[in-house]
């Protein structure tokens, strides 16, 4: 389909040509268009209301990550009143828990929080110097979980994940966020890029 806009005018309006390089009749057309679109510059520069209160109210209502809440709980000084009897019982319970828990570090995929499945992530990027994988399971931390480099240019990481849907991306050289080209599906991340989606079932995934 052809265009009715002369090529030089397009180049000027794309910012690739100066107005001085336009012939007179195209200059007038350019100025007419700029006058029309330029009228929007005089639009209201402010919102009709401040959104600060509403935004901060919602921000305060968002729960902090569990690890921050746990840390705050542990780090906050609080008075502790304990009778000798209760103290002795608590100490005995603690020792019992340690005795039961410590001998079983290799108990398999069952943990106190439920089933976790060893999941292998593979990403081919021979030119990268480092690659990590991040997602909801890593709190979207850009540092993510480092992957180890294989001999064939593949980067590999194995992570224990609970069954369910997981969104993730690879972070190449600490700056470039890349979806998994081999993922079964991708979703918009809301920032103009894609997240990959992985379904972890009861058996080993990759």
């Amino acid at each position: 389909m052809g265009s009715s806009e002369p090529g030089d005018l397009s180049r000027y309006l794309d910012g690739e040509l100066s107005k001085a390089d336009l012939p007179e009749h195209l200059r007038q057309e350019a100025e007419a268009f700029e006058r029309i679109i330029g009228s929007l510059d005089r639009g209201p520069a402010k919102l009709p209301r401040s959104v600060r209160g509403a935004v901060m109210e919602r921000v305060r209502a968002i729960p902090a990550p569990w690890w921050r809440r746990a840390w705050t709980w542990f780090a906050t000084p609080r008075p502790l009143r304990l009778s000798p009897l209760h103290g002795t019982l608590a100490l005995a319970a603690l020792i019992a828990v340690l005795l039961v828990a410590l001998p079983k570090p290799q108990a398999g995929p069952q943990t106190s929080t439920g089933v976790r499945v060893a999941t292998r992530f593979i990403y081919l990027e021979p030119n990268a110097t480092r690659v990590s994988v991040t997602g909801e399971f890593a709190n979207w931390d850009p540092a993510g979980i480092p992957m180890r480099r294989g001999a064939d240019g593949n980067w590999v990481a194995e992570i224990d994940l609970p069954p369910g849907l997981h969104h993730y991306v690879f972070v190449v050289d600490g700056t470039r966020w890349a979806p998994d080209p081999n993922a079964s599906s991708q979703v918009d991340d809301g920032f103009g890029l894609k997240n990959s989606v992985l379904l972890v079932t009861g058996s080993r995934s990759s």
């Binding site: 929007l40 005089r42 209201p44 919102l47």
Partner: protein, 190 residues
């Protein structure tokens, strides 16, 4: 004064758990993209909703801001995406005109009818009738003043594809505003 802290430092504070510091960024940028959001959504109130949603989203995903010193550009990408989402989901609301009676026709008597405000209203109305991607491209280029490479980064679209969007957008806008292109607000008398 914490209000003078650079964006990167404020982002660091918020990520470290000081969520009240996020108010600094809200105050700093809540109006920065007002004109863009109003032109994309069609009404100032809807623009405020979009900006509010964008700022909350920015807080929720702040740890995905890869370059905190460039928080403003990152926030703009979110605003841009939220505007598109709004336009897609809220298309029915576009039936409400920017102002009652604002039709996109050339004024019968420019000397009386054509004020700058009137021109602006007509152009906005015409923009709202364009496909979202063309409207977005025109606003970024000619209102926000972004270069083609900057637009390509914000929209995650190639420069040649952007040029095509701009060309189609200009042609569509000209079609809708044909009668106004010959009109000069500095010299409105025929």
């Amino acid at each position: 004064m914490t209000d003078s802290l650079p964006d990167a430092e404020v982002v660091r504070l918020v990520l470290a758990g000081d969520r009240e510091s996020f108010a600094i960024l809200v105050e700093r940028y809540q109006h920065a993209f007002a004109a863009y959001a109003i032109n994309m959504t069609g009404t100032p109130d809807d623009a405020a909703d979009v900006i509010q949603e964008s700022l909350v989203r920015a807080f929720r995903f702040l740890n995905r801001c890869q370059d905190p010193a460039n928080f403003k550009a990152w926030l703009f990408r979110i605003v841009s995406n939220q505007c598109k989402t709004y336009v897609t989901r809220g298309a029915r609301r576009r039936t409400l005109p920017l102002e009652a009676g604002a039709e996109v026709t050339a004024p019968d008597d420019p000397a009386h009818e054509a004020s700058v405000a009137d021109l602006q209203r007509r152009v906005r109305r015409a923009l709202l009738d364009l496909p979202t991607d063309q409207r977005e491209a025109l606003l970024l280029k000619y209102v926000e003043g972004l270069s083609l490479p900057e637009m390509a980064e914000v929209l995650n679209v190639s420069v040649p594809a952007l040029k095509m969007r701009l060309l189609r957008g200009r042609e569509n806008l000209r079609d809708k505003l044909e009668g106004l292109l010959a009109w000069d607000p500095q010299n409105p008398v025929i």
